[in-house]
Symmetry: C2
Subunit: 148 residues, 2 copies
């Protein structure tokens, strides 16, 4: 079993337009765009959307949004999403970039936010062999169906 939750919405922006985009989105949300010292390609829009990290990222690509999913087991979460139909696009540092059926991008990353939030909100996923439906954190243990 492993766990995951939606962690962030990233506003990927061509480098030449990042400054204008950061100014715009900070105005939209009424917050400041602050550079992330350890990852200068990001400008974080704090408290822009409750519960979801929001940031403008400088990219060498066309403008797009993407979602970040944080997990306590990146390999297992990537395998789960691939089994659901995603294709692997790239790996960049800790981030595994996937393309969804339909064409949207999403990234799988190790737990990046508050561990307490992750503990409270992440969903639990059974091993691939037993299916892909999510199990709520509070769900009871399944009764034993046999002793093998």
């Amino acid at each position: 079993m492993h766990r995951s939750r939606t962690y962030a919405i990233i506003i990927d922006t061509p480098e030449a337009e990042v400054s204008a985009a950061a100014d715009f989105w900070s105005g939209v949300f009424g917050t400041r765009a602050r550079p992330e010292p350890a990852e200068p390609q990001f400008q974080v829009l704090s408290r822009a959307i409750p519960g979801l990290v929001t940031a403008v990222q400088s990219v060498d690509a066309a403008a797009r949004y993407h979602l970040d999913i944080e997990t306590d087991d990146v390999a297992a979460e990537v395998a789960r999403l691939v089994a659901l139909g995603a294709t692997e696009v790239a790996t960049w540092l800790d981030c595994h970039v996937l393309r969804a059926p339909g064409g949207h991008l999403l990234c799988v990353i190790p737990v990046a936010g508050d561990p307490e939030v992750f503990r409270a909100e992440a969903r639990t996923w059974p091993d691939q062999a037993s299916g892909v439906d999510g199990v709520d954190p509070g769900a009871g243990k399944q009764p034993a169906n046999g002793s093998g």
Copy 2:
């Protein structure tokens, strides 16, 4: 003054791929994709992301995500975002489609969710003439700095 908040993230998907996309995203989030009876182009992913309506929308365009912003005054919110640098792209039913500096799409719609959530979470924006910074709902009045 008027108010607004981020209401939804919409997974815009080319019509031919909507079925596969809805299946994929329902698996990602561990929820069901349910058609919206009044708006059949939407398949809503209930409780996918806390606090944010999440839906797959069939579109006659390339795959993209977009954000919906709900407001108690669509004209004033569109004017606010245009003043921040957005350009108006289209109007479709109640939805005003804007393009952000950098190229991302966002829509402004009348309040669509729970009025209590809107009351609790929406930010308050002063008239254009007095600036575009957000005011928190609980903020006190500024002291008078003079009588003119």
